[in-house]
Symmetry: C2
Subunit: 204 residues, 2 copies
């Protein structure tokens, strides 16, 4: 209850995070200056240093903020009722929709995978991805007993994310249509692929 505000907890500190996130998502750590952030927030550059000791701390706080809610919302998509097939369908549909609706999160995720140092990746894994990953892995295990669940869980995520990652370039590749960016179409495709409908030559 004490009105303590250790760096990052004040109201302005939250605004700074919310305003800096889209900048970091679009231009990356090195591509965003403290002046850019200050301008977006509407305060002077010096004021930023009252809330965060340096640029790196601000960045790490912004990342933590961006990923904080994701863990639970991804995991809640899984649930644990119904058959594995039903749970797969539910997960893929929900995860695809969530990723479609948050381009900034996707960009930050890919940037962290590219540039995150050991410490940041460990933090990200342990605070965000471990729990949902466990649930996906559990689902993978039930679906394919003879397949490495870790590999399959990664494949499930990659299958969805890569369609968004390539959104910009697919415009220039043959057969690229608007509907390929529709989360419903992507989800249906991924589900049918994962349920083995494609290789076996039967229906989707």
């Amino acid at each position: 209850m004490a009105d303590k505000r250790p760096a990052g907890n004040s109201d302005t500190a939250q605004v700074i995070l919310n305003k800096s996130l889209p900048l970091f998502a679009r231009s990356g750590y090195a591509g965003v200056s403290m002046r850019d952030i200050a301008k977006a927030v509407g305060i002077s550059g010096a004021a930023l240093y009252h809330h965060y000791p340096d640029k790196q701390s601000l960045y790490v706080a912004a990342m933590a903020h961006a990923f904080a809610d994701k863990a639970s919302s991804i995991q809640s998509a899984l649930g644990n009722t119904g058959s594995p097939e039903q749970r797969l369908e539910r997960f893929v549909t929900s995860f695809t929709k969530q990723m479609a609706s948050d381009p900034d999160f996707r960009a930050l995720l890919h940037r962290e995978l590219l540039d995150g140092d050991e410490k940041r990746l460990k933090l990200l894994a342990e605070n965000v991805f471990i729990e949902p990953f466990k649930a996906i892995k559990q689902l993978a295990q039930e679906m394919a007993l003879d397949c490495d669940a870790h590999l399959l869980a990664i494949s499930m995520a990659g299958l969805i994310l890569f369609h968004f990652e390539t959104q910009a370039i697919r415009r220039y590749l043959p057969g690229g249509l608007k509907k390929h960016n529709d989360p419903k179409v992507i989800a249906q495709h991924v589900i049918s692929l994962l349920t083995g409908a494609i290789g076996s030559g039967s229906r989707q």
Copy 2:
């Protein structure tokens, strides 16, 4: 035969590209300075401007250089002999091995997907990816007549690339083993998934 050297064709110009590529791959465009590149090449910063008019031109030339050979080597993995299943196996195995052996190329590819402007992405698509993509799409079409070939072709690439993209963070996720980074293991997993062995519950 005339010894013309329009910027970028001299010997030093090639060395500049080769030395700058790993820097751009690891730190991105904004994370690398002209001085960094000059130091890596072993010349002064000013000398760089004799070969390329500015940083952006150098970067674009470096990208073109990095992607130049890839198109044919990816495509050659496909060939057009054998059954679709055989061609799939050949493609996945070869593509996985190629990606495993070239982390810099992977990083550059992901950076371009994140940061490439319309012009660069169009160039990349038309000069590098269109032809191999067509071949993969053709293969996808033969394998699954009732499935959107464009979607399936993207899925095939993403299925492979995401395992490498997550190499660093999988260390901290449950069930992550060294063998999951082995291109042979990844390829085998992807092939068995694509041939429908997983969802149908039969073995790989």
